[in-house]
């Protein structure tokens, strides 16, 4: 079940692997230094259809199933995580709400541009006072005629400075709160009353930007409600649930890359007259890295298969995200150790992966929240 890919998915995997290795990887260092993804790489990614992997074929995308997406994201994870973040925030949490829950009108209006990468998408739930506790939203939307008036601030929103369309969550009924009082809206960057705040300076994921969103009496047409009014919290959980599998897949791809780099360095680096790969201490690290990565891959593919089989994956998606991100951090730590000083200097990609790994334990639901979700499911029996 896990090894046999459909021929076309296998072909896509090979193409993305070649593309990443030959076209993106040579710019990884530059992206890191300039905190900017070269425009030609973005254009190339558009031409290759990478922005449309989650969008159905009738809207110009290729409508990959969850396994297909996981396979592609795993390959993308092999290169600069900032570059991957731009694409995966768009194809993952940025697109899912529209694809799964929006009206035909919204789909017709936005999905073709998003599939082509002409309109970049972002997902806006987090607020200064509402991170893991998404029920504590302060952003409000009040209906006035055929419009909604949105006020509030979102923060740490991936893609915000470059995005054109935002899936934004706001409180529409304070009494009901999370139970029927939160609504999802599709907000365009040019809607009056909407501005982008300052760009965050981050530990890693350079080239991918996060920023604040500020809504001051922002006017949103009623037709731009995604799904049903009041059902936004459930929508957010559904969108995040599927996004977690993609995040896990990316982490696995990064682990693969780190293992390859570490193995080849260990064979080249000589100390005391022999390659350090001859030392059992190094071999054990490589063995653990490889075993844990393989386990993370299996967990990720299992969750993806379950999505494709129409099963509920709340627990499995959380497990995949939790485990793959923890493994990514352990693998990156060992990769630094194997590389020694070379793992600590910025001339070499290891320290970049080490910094980029850290956020995967935090975003799209902290690992503490993942454990909470898993435990709840286990206790339910």
């Amino acid at each position: 079940m896990f090894t046999q890919l459909k021929p076309e998915i296998d072909q896509m995997k090979q193409m993305v692997r070649n593309y990443v290795e030959r076209e993106v990887e040579p710019y990884a260092q530059q992206i890191e230094e300039e905190d900017k993804i070269p425009q030609h790489l973005i254009e190339q990614a558009k031409e290759l259809g990478l922005f449309g992997i989650s969008i159905p074929e009738e809207y110009g995308g290729i409508g990959l199933n969850a396994v297909g997406k996981a396979v592609i994201l795993e390959q993308l994870g092999r290169t600069h995580n900032g570059f991957v973040s731009l694409i995966s925030a768009h194809t993952g949490i940025g697109s899912t709400g529209l694809v799964k829950l929006a009206s035909p009108y919204l789909k017709d209006k936005y999905l073709p541009g998003m599939a082509a990468g002409e309109k970049i998408a972002a997902f806006a739930l987090s607020e200064p006072a509402a991170g893991s506790d998404a029920t504590n939203l302060e952003t409000r939307a009040v209906k006035r005629g055929d419009k909604w008036i949105v006020n509030g601030t979102k923060h740490f929103i991936t893609n915000a400075p470059v995005a054109d369309v935002f899936t934004v969550f706001a409180l529409t009924d304070k009494e009901k709160g999370a139970k029927g009082g939160i609504t999802a809206f599709l907000i365009e960057k040019d809607f009056p009353g909407f501005t982008i705040g300052k760009i965050d300076k981050k530990m890693g994921l350079r080239g991918s930007y996060t920023a604040q969103l500020i809504f001051e009496d922002c006017e949103v047409p009623d037709v731009n409600v995604i799904g049903e009014v009041g059902m936004g919290y459930l929508s957010a959980l559904k969108i995040l649930g599927e996004g977690r599998v993609g995040l896990a897949a990316r982490a696995v791809g990064s682990c693969d890359k780190l293992i390859e780099l570490s193995a080849s360095y260990a064979k080249e680096r000589k100390q005391f007259g022999k390659p350090i790969a001859d030392n059992q201490a190094i071999q054990w690290m490589l063995a653990d890295m490889a075993t844990e990565t393989e386990a993370a891959r299996m967990l990720t593919l299992k969750a993806a298969h379950m999505i494709d089989d129409g099963k509920k994956v709340i627990k499995e998606a959380s497990m995949a995200k939790l485990f793959a991100s923890d493994v990514f951090n352990r693998v990156a730590d060992k990769a630094v150790q194997i590389h020694g000083g070379m793992g600590y200097v910025a001339d070499y990609p290891i320290e970049r992966f080490y910094r980029d790994a850290r956020i995967t334990k935090i975003y799209e639901g902290t690992n503490e929240i993942q454990r909470l979700i898993i435990a709840r499911k286990v206790l339910e029996g």
Binding site: P7, E8, Q11, M15, L48, E57, G60, I62, I72
Partner: protein, 257 residues
């Protein structure tokens, strides 16, 4: 314009290749479109986009070659033909492949046939020219540029690092050299579309050929890896001493001067 590309599935020489019992081991090897044939696919697509017509990619080989044909379709070729020799032939050589392709192409009225300069596995560079001879049409090898204007064809070809300009006319067979173009990646939508494009599979019977007609004329005795290179020698001391030593080594040891 009726454009045909001859395409071979080969192992990827950028990946690790292992040999056992005089055979390249398929297990663990990666397989690709022969890179010189990939230039042919790219050029064929460009010619079709500029002049109209249809691109057909043809491969002689086994079932596995379907993957490489699908990749060519995903890049933009219109249809593919697999001449499956798996059940009929144990071994073949350039004569075998050329004979089969010639039989297939005889009644196809191709305007341009593009082949690779060489395949990166066998490296003989024979199949293209042999097919042209078989069909009785002109051929130009190692091309780095081609322009078609009506029936007239202007070609630049690579001759050992220099270039040569040639005028010829359709129909023609060309073999593609590095520098002709930069092959595109098959896009994700292209890969989805390729699933629905026609891929015809035929066998020797369909070409009225039997095993005897195409029996290989070459027998491969052994395949082995080149010997490992000895480590280089580092000369030391000041420059003039190093030059003297180098000249001495070239004369007395390498015996090249």
């Amino acid at each position: 314009m009726n454009i045909v590309v001859l395409l071979k599935r080969t192992f990827d020489t950028e990946e690790k290749i292992s040999i056992a019992n005089g055979q390249v081991q398929e297990e663990g090897a990666e397989f690709i479109i022969n890179p010189y044939d990939e230039y042919g696919v790219e050029e064929a697509i460009r010619l079709r986009d500029n002049h109209g017509g249809e691109v057909t990619v043809v491969s002689v080989g086994g079932e596995e070659a379907e993957k490489q044909l699908r990749t060519a379709l995903a890049m933009g070729a219109d249809k593919a033909v697999l001449i499956n020799t798996e059940d009929d032939l144990d071994e073949g050589d350039q004569f075998t492949t050329a004979k089969i392709l010639t039989s297939y192409l005889t009644d196809k009225n191709a305007d341009i046939i593009l082949a690779g300069n060489v395949a990166i596995d066998g490296g003989s560079g024979q199949v293209g020219p042999r097919v042209a001879e078989g069909l009785g049409i002109p051929y130009v090898t190692t091309i780095t540029q081609i322009e078609v204007n009506g029936k007239a064809v202007s070609i630049t070809r690579d001759v050992e690092g220099d270039s040569e300009s040639i005028q010829t006319s359709l129909p023609v067979l060309v073999t593609c050299q590095q520098g002709l173009n930069e092959p595109r990646y098959p896009s994700l939508p292209g890969i989805m579309k390729a699933k629905k494009k026609p891929l015809e599979e035929i066998e020797l019977d369909d070409l009225d050929l039997d095993e005897e007609d195409v029996r290989a004329k070459i027998k491969t005795l052994d395949i082995y890896l080149p010997p490992q290179k000895a480590a280089g020698r580092l000369l030391e001391g000041d420059i003039s001493a190093q030059v003297d030593e180098l000249v001495g080594l070239l004369r007395n040891e390498a015996k090249v001067i």
